[in-house]
């Protein structure tokens, strides 16, 4: 009969409509389904039923660890409280960057004339950067990583959209916070390397 298909279809829409309220009621005893981290997780999982909306900006969808936006540089703080860049200005990231949006300024030590293993300045033009993550992937010193911060809208790109070293620099703790698993793994590898090096030195 004509119209059966339509009615079936409308049934599906109705089901979606009703599901939202059924879920809402189910969550009532647990303090509601919105503005709650626990509930958000369920609402955005494969078990999601009914309304699917993230109420940004009140609640934000958590980003996974691998999430990548604009790169940032890592510095460590030594015993004297001085910032030490992990970056050695080796230039590999600038070489591998597909749209070529990384600029690195290197310098020589005025006394010895030798190159200083740290960048004098470091620029990324985020109007060119394609967030591909290759720089972070191939940096041999784990000095450049991909940030999670995506709330970067601005009114003036000429002022705000070339990130310099100051803007890019983040402490190691920040990295450990946003990418704990990667951080732990790298630290482990680093410790192993150190140990192997020490062992070799000893055996010599």
């Amino acid at each position: 009969m004509y119209g059966i298909g339509l009615i079936k279809g409308l049934g599906v829409t109705l089901k979606h409509f009703v599901e939202t309220y059924v879920e809402d009621i189910r969550w009532l005893s647990r303090g509601g389904r919105y503005y709650d981290e626990e509930a958000l997780k369920v609402r955005q999982s494969t078990a999601a039923r009914g309304i699917f909306t993230v109420q940004y900006p009140e609640e934000k969808l958590p980003v996974p660890e691998e999430f990548r936006y604009i790169p940032f540089l890592i510095y460590e703080v030594d015993e004297d409280g001085i910032k030490v860049d992990r970056c050695t200005s080796c230039g590999i990231c600038a070489k591998v960057c597909p749209p070529q949006c990384i600029w690195i300024v290197r310098s020589n030590d005025p006394e010895t004339g030798r190159p200083v293993p740290a960048p004098t300045d470091f620029f990324i033009d985020i109007d060119i950067c394609m967030n591909c993550g290759l720089c972070a992937e191939y940096c041999p010193f784990d000095a450049i990583k991909m940030d999670h911060d995506y709330e970067l809208a601005s009114h003036d790109r000429f002022k705000d959209h070339i990130f310099d070293k100051e803007r890019l620099d983040h402490p190691l703790s920040y990295y450990a916070e946003i990418r704990p698993r990667n951080y732990a793994e790298e630290e482990r590898a680093r410790a192993e390397k150190e140990a192997a090096k020490a062992a070799r030195r000893k055996s010599k």
Binding site: Y2, G3, I4, G5, L6, K8, G9, G11, V12, T13, H16, Q44, S45, T46, A47, A48, F52, V63, P64, E65, E66, F67, R68, S89, G91, I92, A94, K95, V96, C97, P98, Q100, I102, W103, I104, V105, R106, P119, D121, F122, F123, D125, M130, N131, C132, G133, L134, E137, Y138, M146, I162, R181
Partner: protein, 580 residues
């Protein structure tokens, strides 16, 4: 077996053509070199006697050192099997090659592209106009001696990024402060833009008078490039008799981003994130095809686990794409947004998986030569399992219940935009468009790549070739993809995900290779020529969205103007790939 067959073919060709056709004996190259005068005969022979009825790809190559232009043709049999390559060479200045449109109508747009970007003229082409750039553009940009305004160096990495590192906006370095370059002695005074006269002239207009002082005339209507139903910046010029389409010309290039020119300057690994931006709904599939073609040249094999993950990602991509395509086809049919919203829900869940493994929802950049960028993070395998075994089967049933029997969908879809099997093969249509016309051709079965031969699945096929069947075939394909997903996630082995050490500078031996995959929109192929340097010498994309619209005019003729958007929606194009 393949050996004996190819020798048999070679013998046949030898006896028939003698010297006019010779095997291509350059190091790393394959196929036959055909003399331009014999090209038409040879192509007819290849199609009729040898059965290579599907001309998949036409590529122009500029060999500047040898002072030659070459056109490379990849022909296949729709019954399956490897390609037959044939090539024709001509001089660089005033290059002329006979057009194959009369034998393979699917060569139409591809020849126009070669004319537009490389300046190879195709003699006998019915409508040889620029296709991606506009009429009146200066020069043919893919020629090796053509430089753009923002040109810095022939190959990346650019020297001045490091070690001096003076940051600048490239605009500041060119006199017009914009990405523009004019021919010498050009002045805008007294100059008249070429306009679109040739485009409208190509439509062939009709005027008729009734003899009683009244008359009628066909009218021309432009849809796009800014039109809500053209899926981006696509434009169609339709000639109408009342509401009926008499003729239709697709106009594209509004998103031409010079992918190939940039790709020939990039190193191999740099192209990987750029491929994401081709068909931006299916970035994993694009990665796959590009990785395959470079791996062929490098002769590396990814490890088991990586192969399985590749298949999982490719099939998830297919599900994503088909959900999206169905949602927006329904949008075009007038079901404003509700089906699309439901489809996008499922897409979002799969994108969460992509984001977790690769870091980005859309631009995955996940494949590497000989493996993958990283392994699955903890918990993701379970999410994929949930999706494959519970969520997606349930949702695809729901989608079918929602739409398949809907009377409006049927009325709008059945018998609209029909493409017969012969036409589909002729136009080199690929993917769901081809299979909805009754041709069971799927690269995953016809020439299995990666580990697709291990899975148990069927090639979906439908026989009416209309909009409704193109909808149904996508539903069928989602079901098949879910089958593959279930098998793959069950068998997923442990182990490495990368052969060798990850490298940012790979060494690729000289030669040519064509890697193709069955992308959700059809056969996606990358034709890569390496000359041994860190950057590809030629990097060409056989883009299914681009070639599938070749048949658009044929499908639309005689239909109502309102059906054109439905037909376009059923072809499912993505402009990033159409225009590249």
């Amino acid at each position: 077996m393949a050996e004996t067959e190819s020798t048999k073919v070679l013998d046949e060709i030898k006896t028939k053509f003698g010297d006019a056709v010779s095997p291509d004996e350059r190091e790393g190259y394959d196929g036959y070199l055909v003399r331009a005068e014999n090209l038409l005969d040879f192509a007819t022979f290849v199609r009729d006697a040898l059965g290579y009825d599907y001309l998949s790809s036409v590529t122009g190559v500029d060999y500047i050192v040898e002072d030659k232009m070459e056109v490379v043709y990849h022909a296949y049999r729709t019954s399956g099997g490897p390609a037959l390559l044939f090539k024709v060479q001509t001089q660089r200045e005033k290059s002329v090659v006979p057009s194959l449109v009369s034998i393979y109508p699917g060569a139409d747009f591809q020849e126009r592209e070669a004319w537009d970007l490389l300046g190879i003229e195709f003699e006998g082409h019915p409508d040889l106009r620029r296709i991606l750039l506009w009429d009146g553009f200066h020069g043919h940009p893919l020629r090796k001696d053509w430089r753009e305004a923002y040109f810095e160096e022939d190959q990346k990495p650019f020297g001045n990024r490091w070690p001096e590192g003076k940051v600048y906006r490239i605009e500041d370095k060119v006199p017009f402060n914009k990405n523009v370059k004019y021919p010498a002695n050009f002045t805008p005074e007294g100059w008249v833009p070429e306009g679109e006269g040739t485009l409208y002239a190509s439509l062939g207009r009709m005027e008729k008078s009734n003899g009683n002082g009244t008359g009628s005339e066909h009218i021309v209507v432009n849809l796009g490039p800014q039109h809500p139903s053209t899926h981006g910046v696509f434009r169609m010029v339709a000639e109408l008799d009342g509401e009926t389409i008499v003729d239709l010309k697709p106009v594209m290039g509004y998103l031409h981003r010079n992918h190939e020119k940039i790709g020939e300057r990039n190193t191999y690994i740099m192209n990987m994130p750029f491929t994401d931006r081709l068909d931006y709904i299916c970035s994993m599939g694009n990665n796959f095809a590009y990785a395959l073609s470079v791996e062929k040249l490098m002769d590396v094999q990814p490890p088991e686990r990586a192969e399985y993950l590749r298949v999982i990602m490719a099939e998830l991509t297919r599900v994503v794409n088909h959900f999206w395509a169905i949602g927006f086809l329904l949008n075009d049919l007038g079901a404003f947004f509700t089906p699309a919203l439901y489809a996008i829900n499922e897409r979002e869940l799969i994108l969460d998986v992509f984001e977790a493994v690769s870091g980005s929802r859309m631009m995955c950049n996940y494949f590497r030569f000989g493996g993958l960028a990283r392994d699955l993070p903890p918990g993701t395998a379970e999410v994929i399992r949930d999706l494959a075994f519970e969520r997606l089967p349930e949702k695809i049933d729901e989608l079918e219940r929602y739409l398949t029997e809907n009377e409006i969908v049927r009325v709008r879809g059945e018998g609209v935009g029909v493409l017969t099997a012969e036409q589909a093969i002729g136009f080199a249509a690929a993917g769901p468009v081809l299979r909805a016309s009754g041709v069971p051709y799927d690269v995953r079965k016809a020439e299995p790549y990666s580990i697709y031969d291990r899975f148990d699945f069927d090639v979906a096929v439908r026989y009416n070739g209309d909009v409704y069947d193109r909808y149904l075939i996508r539903v069928d394909e989602i079901r098949q993809s879910i089958r593959i997903l279930q098998q793959a996630i069950q068998d997923l082995p442990e182990g490495e995900i990368q052969t060798g050490r990850p490298q940012y500078q790979v060494r690729v031996p000289a030669g040519e290779s064509y890697g193709r995959v069955e992308n959700p929109k059809g056969e996606l192929g990358f034709y890569v020529i390496s000359d041994g340097s860190p950057t590809p010498y030629r990097y060409h994309i056989r883009a299914p969205s681009f070639i599938n619209v070749t048949g658009m005019a044929e499908m639309s003729r005689g239909q109502k103007i309102a059906d054109v958007v439905a037909i376009l929606g059923s072809i499912d194009i993505v402009l990033g790939e159409t225009d590249r």
